[in-house]
């Protein structure tokens, strides 16, 4: 692969095409591409690689990009002869520049491929060398073994034969001796001795003659040549020609922030020189209560990929998955990698608007997790809204919030946008819907679960109504420890901050109300103001006049108020231990309780007779409220 040739080759392509020659002369992909790009541009310029004439242009209005690389050269005679328009020249030149870039890109890719192939070949070479070495080693081992075996056998046979030989020698000696003895006997002159000895000697000779003479060799002359088991060598030789199956890949642990709510990005690597055709990634969700037997195990899903990474989608949020991967090539499949545990990111939480409260210095945000399984923690993000209503970048994040609520310190008189994210090992979820918090005045909703059954609360949550209708017995039978059972009242959900809080209550001239504060644990079967943990202003309508009381522990000072307030301001100051009431329209101070609030108190609102009242909050306290 000669890159320079490629370059040269394609240049030729451009040259020919530019001359409006037959495009089918070169059927390379490059040609097609360029043909598509330049069709419709007619130019009579000739690009000749070999000429030395440089590019020559007429001066024109707009600044043109730098001239084409020196490989392209123009025949300027043709430019002027044919009188083509400047724009076409520019267009073509731009296209040429594009093509140059493409080609350079292509060249780069080819270089990469070249290097990779070189690398692969090198690896193969190494691999083969090793393999053959292994085979040779095995063969020489076998040879040694076999040689040793034969040696043993030979030794064995020789010994046996030698023994046999010795035996024969002895036999021969014995028979020789016998013959000599017989000859001696035969030669003996003494007939008497001869007769004495001849019979035993004849017997001995007869016996001896009866003896079988073993003439066969004790051992065979042939050597045992068992078939040697070369099957493993054979497989080794076979496998030389075959790429080995890959070894098990190594799956990486989960990278932080690589997961989303429904997808995981899994990466692995191969720590060997194996060639791999493709990988297969297996995954299945990890269930909380996996049964002991695998019959009810969740199904395993599989993805086939060529890269060493994969993004698995369509998963459940805040769920744990078990993943493993195998590598496959023409020879076979690798063993599976270790199983890794990954976790998807949780679903975003849902802020509970009606349970959030605020005051000039702080806000309390409460939310629902948004996930069925527990998450590790939550992150609360805040940004301040600019005066022109624009949202600024997130200015503060509170991390590692363990529960579904957070009390945040804020600056007075601003507007904030707050959102929450759930966090687990996979990373943070998307941001929840944003809630706007204004640190002007104190804002709270009513604790609907404390409302007496005769009270109904408006949809916006700020007006309470004590209706005329008889309550069904069923509702009264509800024995809920948290609702007021006698006093038709409800508590508010004031932020637990020991600062200054102000709110207003709108009533009718004829409304008989009880307005004030009570501690959270005030007796629900008692009347507001009748015990020592509630303080309230009470309006009573008698036939002759309006009566006002300021009740605490069942006692009230004796007061007359000449103008009936219809909008009452309530100012609570924890530090000073005061609870003050004002006629807002007249800015008139009515009464102040002096008390020490040991615990946090909640605003309380009650109606002694059918009627309604409306709570207004989020109002900046007037100056006179906290003198």
């Amino acid at each position: 692969m000669d890159l320079f040739e490629i370059r040269g080759g394609t240049l030729d392509v451009i040259a020919e095409e530019a001359e409006h020659q037959d495009l089918s002369r070169n059927s390379t992909i490059m040609a097609d591409r360029e043909a598509r790009a330049t069709r419709g541009v007619s130019t009579y310029q000739r690009f000749s690689v070999d000429t030395n004439e440089s590019l020559h242009f007429e001066p024109c209005e707009d600044s043109l990009p730098s001239p084409t690389p020196p490989e392209y050269e123009l025949d300027d005679d043709n430019v002027f002869k044919e009188g083509e328009t400047e724009s076409e020249i520019v267009t073509v030149r731009n296209q040429l520049q594009g093509k140059v870039a493409e080609m350079e890109n292509f060249a780069g890719h080819l270089e990469e491929i070249f290097l990779t192939v070189e690398e692969n070949f090198g690896r193969q070479e190494q691999h083969l060398e090793q393999h053959y070495n292994d085979v040779l080693l095995t063969l020489s081992q076998r040879y040694d073994e076999r040689a040793a075996g034969l040696e043993e056998e030979k030794k064995g046979k020789l010994e046996a034969l030698y023994k046999q030989l010795l035996g024969c020698g002895r036999a021969m000696d014995a028979s020789k001796e016998l013959i000599e003895t017989a000859q001696k006997v035969y030669r003996s002159q003494d007939k008497r001795l001869f007769l004495k000895a001849v019979m035993p000697t004849i017997k001995r000779i007869e016996d001896f003659a009866k003896e079988e003479v073993v003439l066969t060799l004790s051992t065979s002359l042939e050597f045992n040549t068992p078939l040697s088991d070369m099957s493993d060598v054979k497989t080794m030789m076979d496998s030389i020609n075959v790429v080995p199956a890959p070894s098990a890949p190594v799956i990486n642990p989960q990278m932080p922030n690589s997961a989303s709510q429904t997808s995981l990005r899994v990466c692995w690597s191969l720590f060997s020189d194996d060639t791999v055709e493709y990988y297969e990634l297996y995954y299945r969700p990890v269930l909380e209560d996996t049964p002991a037997d695998s019959t009810c195990a969740p199904p395993v899903s599989k993805v086939k990929v060529k890269e060493t990474h994969c993004t698995v989608a369509d998963l459940l949020p805040n769920a744990q998955y078990e993943l493993w991967v195998t590598a496959t090539n023409t020879t076979g499949i690798s063993p599976a990698s270790e199983k890794a545990l990954y976790m998807t990111v949780p679903s975003p939480p849902v802020i509970k608007q009606r349970e959030c409260t605020s005051c000039p210095e702080a806000a309390l945000i409460r939310w629902e997790s948004g996930n069925t399984n527990p998450v590790d923690s939550y992150t609360v993000d805040l940004s301040e809204m600019g005066t022109d209503g624009t949202e600024n970048a997130i200015t503060e994040s509170i991390v590692a919030v363990p529960t579904c609520q957070c009390l945040i310190q804020l600056q007075t008189g601003r507007r904030y946008l707050i959102s929450v994210r759930a966090v687990n090992i996979g990373g943070p979820s998307d941001r929840s819907e944003v809630i706007t918090v204004s640190t002007t005045g104190t804002l709270f909703y009513l604790l609907e679960e404390t409302a007496h059954s005769c009270l109904s609360i408006s949809e916006d949550g700020f007006t309470i109504l004590y209706g005329d209708e008889e309550l069904p017995i069923s509702a009264m039978a509800l024995d809920d420890n948290n609702t007021f059972s006698r006093c038709v009242a409800v508590l508010g959900d004031l932020i637990p901050v020991r600062g200054r809080h102000y709110w207003e209550v709108e009533v009718d001239d004829g409304t008989e109300f009880r307005i004030g504060v009570a501690s959270e644990e005030t007796e629900r079967n008692s009347y507001l103001g009748a015990n020592n943990n509630s303080w309230c202003m009470r309006h009573i309508l008698t036939p002759s006049r309006h009566k006002f009381e300021f009740l605490h522990n069942g006692w009230s000072p004796d007061l007359r108020i000449t103008v009936n307030p219809v909008r009452i301001g309530v100012a609570l100051d924890y530090e000073r231990g005061t609870l003050s009431f004002f006629n807002v329209e007249l800015e008139q101070h009515l009464h102040t309780f002096q008390c020490i609030f040991q615990s946090y108190v909640q605003p309380c609102f009650g109606l002694d007779n059918p009627g309604a009242l409306t709570v207004h909050n989020g109002i900046e306290a007037p100056e006179y409220a906290f003198i």
């Binding site: 006049r545 004796d558 007061l559 108020i561 000449t562 103008v563 007249l586 800015e587 003198i627």
Partner: protein, 282 residues
């Protein structure tokens, strides 16, 4: 109009002083007490005029009422004049404790022999403020009035007869309806003659029923165990009824166990000063 300082004592970070001057309305030497809060050293302060009750001089208030600490806290100058002209040698002026000396009733007398000297209404509403504004670091646009018993009556009528002049008004056990009580009837017949119509100009209850002017916000404290309340000298219910009808904002507090004395005044003085400060410092 020259002032002579009679005494000066440092008190609550400021100074409690007593001055004497020759009054043009009353045609005699008159003393008055002035409390200057610490703020008066650097800034102009609003002025609270305190009108004392029967038999009092300028001394009772400054020694018994406990006004200096809250006055210093809120930066108010408190002026406490005497309750009648002194040393005029009018026949019969010392006969009763509830008429004549120490019982000026804050009216401008029209009957002899009182009409020359007994012009407490004009003294309080005209001469004294001019004098104070000329000699002390005051903000002439911010003044208010308060008082006890007869002085309470005085405070109420000054506020009702001068809409907008006083930024705040309050009273301790005031005589609310002098036309209907023995004290008032005795004093008015003596100072104003027998024509009851002339008395109405100095009766808070009557004045309230025809009041029109900038909104008022009246604070009244009344001891429940006040002997004069039970003796029907004070008649606060009458005032309350009229104010309820006429929608004049009043907060009237009946304080259980308290009597008519300065002990009662002392107990609620800071509430009243705070009430005045709310309007004077606004």
């Amino acid at each position: 109009m020259s002032l002579t300082q009679v005494s000066s004592n440092k008190c609550a970070g400021g100074f409690q002083k007593v001055f004497e001057h020759e009054s043009t309305e009353l045609k005699c030497k008159m003393k008055f007490a002035v409390y200057l809060p610490p703020k008066a050293e650097t800034d102009k302060c609003p002025v609270l005029y305190w009108l004392s009750g029967l038999t009092c001089t300028e001394q009772n208030f400054i020694t018994k009422a406990g006004s200096q600490v809250p006055a210093a806290e809120h930066g108010l100058i408190i002026v406490a004049p005497d309750t009648s002209p002194r040393g005029c040698n009018i026949e019969g002026e010392d006969e009763s404790w509830d008429f004549g000396t120490g019982a000026g009733f804050y009216v401008d007398a029209t009957e002899d022999p009182w009409k020359i000297n007994y012009r407490m209404y004009s003294y309080i509403t005209e001469e004294l403020p001019r004098l104070i504004n000329a000699n002390f670091p005051t903000d002439p646009n911010r003044m208010s009035v308060s008082g006890h018993s007869m002085g309470g009556h005085g405070a109420l009528i000054c506020a009702l007869k001068n809409p907008g002049k006083y930024k705040a008004v309050s009273a301790f056990a005031p005589i609310c309806n002098p036309l209907q009580c023995p004290w008032g009837q005795k004093a008015f017949s003596g100072y104003l003659g027998s024509d009851r119509d002339t008395w109405e100009a100095y009766d808070a209850t009557v004045l309230a029923s025809s009041y029109s002017g900038p909104p008022l916000d009246v604070l009244i404290d009344q001891g429940r165990d006040d002997q004069f309340l039970s003796a029907s000298q004070l008649l606060p219910d009458n005032l309350i009824t009229v104010c309820s009808e006429k929608k004049i904002p009043v907060v009237f507090r009946l304080q259980p166990g308290y009597d008519h004395s300065y002990f009662f005044i002392y107990s609620f003085m800071s509430d009243h000063i705070k009430h005045h400060a709310k309007f004077l410092n606004a």
